[in-house]
Chain length 132, copies 2
């Protein structure tokens, strides 16, 4: 399923994050979507999600790079569960990048206009459990 | 979130599976839901999901026991991502049970009648990626 429409949507999100183009980024989220910022800390709604992305970019000195690896999509009843390797390049204080791979889980909804929009963005995947 | 409505729904599903009450079980699935039977093998729709549960029960000589552990629910835009420890007790050929814990991922949709219905049932969680 590597050529699934959702791969293109997620890649468009990555490009928008890198370009700090939050207007474009938000077109890919449902109005009352949820974003897991870190385990135990979830924000809802486009305004708060946008603010969170702006804060995350500033925290990482605008040097955070996100790329996607292997992907599995399971569609059911107008929704889709996306399970995806997410590679993060995070700048350390001295500028040296740290590389991290997460197994993310995203939920998308197929809207009547034909677009897939993210309803739950959880880049921590099942690690949410052990992180408690 | 251990007392979330969805814990009760999932526990009701476990009871229905144990009782081989597939009519009740199917009330908790959306019409065109998806069930991951094993990595790479997904079925869609209540009829096929029901048949899969019947086949799984027969395969395990009606001795498969499923119980739930820690749970995290992230609600967004009328959907919910459930991340849950699932404990399986599987009978071996000689009758000795094997214990297995998975980190499952389920997607639910909040329907207009107020019920949560499962749209994607993936008991393999993010292990789908390494299983390919």
């Amino acid at each position: 399923m590597s050529d699934h429409t959702l791969r293109h949507v997620i890649e468009a999100c990555d490009r928008a994050i890198t370009a700090a183009d939050y207007d474009t980024l938000m077109t890919h989220y449902a109005d009352d979507a949820a974003l897991v910022i870190q385990p135990g800390h979830v924000v809802h709604g486009k305004d708060r999600i946008r603010q969170a992305f702006i804060a995350i970019a500033a925290h990482f000195q605008h040097k955070l790079k996100v790329t996607q690896g292997e992907m599995q999509v399971i569609e059911g009843a107008g929704t889709a569960l996306v399970i995806m390797e997410t590679h993060l390049e995070i700048p350390a204080a001295d500028g040296t990048p740290t590389h991290l791979t997460r197994r993310a889980t995203y939920v998308f909804r197929h809207d009547p206009d034909g677009q897939w929009r993210c309803t739950v963005d959880n880049s921590y995947g099942t690690d949410l459990l052990s992180a408690q």
